[in-house]
Amino acid sequence: MNATRVKAAPVWERRLLATVDDGPDLAVHQQHWGPLPSARAPELLSAVQASGLLGRGGAGFPTARKMLTVAAARGRTVVVANGAEGEPASAKDRLLLMRAPHLVLDGIQLAAKIVHADEAYLVLHGGTGTTEQVYAAMHQRRDRVGVELRELPAAYVASEESALVHWLSGGEAKPTFTPPRPFERGVNGRPTLVNNVETLAHLATIVRRGGEWFREAGDADEPGTLLVTVSGRGVDRRVAEVPTGIRIGDVLERAGVDVAGSQAVLVGGYFGTWLPADLAAQLPLSHHALRAAGGALGAGILVALPRDSCGVAETARVAAYLAAHNAGQCGPCLNGLPSLAGALNALATGRWDERWWPALERWMAVVPGRGACRHPDGAVRFIASGLSVFAADVAEHRAGRPCASVSSPALLRVPAVPPAWR
């Protein structure tokens, strides 16, 4: 960990969330941000390059580089704004769409201009109110490129980039074998730029205030502010905008989490990793710092687990959810994840047989890296981190002494609906 990167930020500047208290109307948006600049594509792109913006969907890929690739493609291109937020512990995309939809819609227009797209989609989850809100916002505007709103079926892997593209092309919302990647051949065969809605919202601020302004906040290598979603006991998916590189402990405390009373923090969502709470609290909130600690920033999800909760049970429940939400396409995942989930359930609930341990270890070794998408890799990383961070409890469970709190209410949210693919 590099302590010098940690910034003391007693007052956190709100950028994307500057207007959330004043409502989602176009008038509020324009009052704060002014009109959309009429700059041409090359100027817009150099502003993005100067900003150093990294994608906010989880992978942290440089946005300008992705845009350059699509912009260089021949023929007509497509922009897809991903606001489907497949992570059950994330709420930042929904907040953005509900309270600042015009930043996202501005971002879509800017992205379309940069990659010369004449077709754009905004993908959402139905039943969350976002479709209605964004629809209302769209009717307050006159945009050059029409945006089609689409409600994605509710499945964890449906918002994976190749799954989105396959579904928008008329197929099921399931990942496809790559290459080709969407930027090569995407929606209906056209080169497609897929960006998370928060990334697009940042874009709308960067072209107005400049790349230098964007870099004034946050870590030098991963600049700007970041939307995080924090959960813990008594804290249900609280969204905050924070500068990157800030101490995770500060973020948790500001969101109302009792850090001293926590045993572990899930960082990065259900493809992320459990980290011991005292370690996580000291780490800067950045891709490089979390990678160095064996974790991942993902889409900025933090869930603090209280000391009296059973980490084995929490891990087992999410493992069962991830297993149920495999796309049923690739053998190692469709066989391996249910096997892993079954073993973890037995471990959590006191029906464990010690002869299963070698199988559990074997599955964790053979399942990752062999699917069309990263679902098996993410699920196994999550499970492995749980077995490691909660090792003391795992030993007790293996010895036939499951935690007393094993049946207490789950902290990690697990949607009960079965996955849908169309």
Binding site: T176, C330, R362, R370, G371, A372
Partner: protein, 66 residues
């Protein structure tokens, strides 16, 4: 030459592991585990035969000429 399996097309027939046992073994559900993506020169002919024999054509060979 690079060798990959298209895991969506693969239906665990296991032909590849029979024809290229030096490079491919099967997991407990019958799906292939490859010993890496870069295939040694001396296995290229076997690999091409295995790719042609796969009932779902799930073996993907890239580069290395024909």
């Amino acid at each position: 030459m690079r060798i990959r399996v298209n895991p969506i097309d693969c239906k665990a027939h296991g032909v590849c592991a029979e024809m290229l046992p030096e490079w491919i073994e099967l997991d407990e559900w019958g799906y292939p585990i490859l010993d890496g993506e870069e295939l040694p020169e001396q296995l290229m002919a076997h690999a091409r035969r295995a790719a042609r024999a796969c009932p779902t054509l799930a073996i993907v060979l890239e580069g290395g000429g024909r």
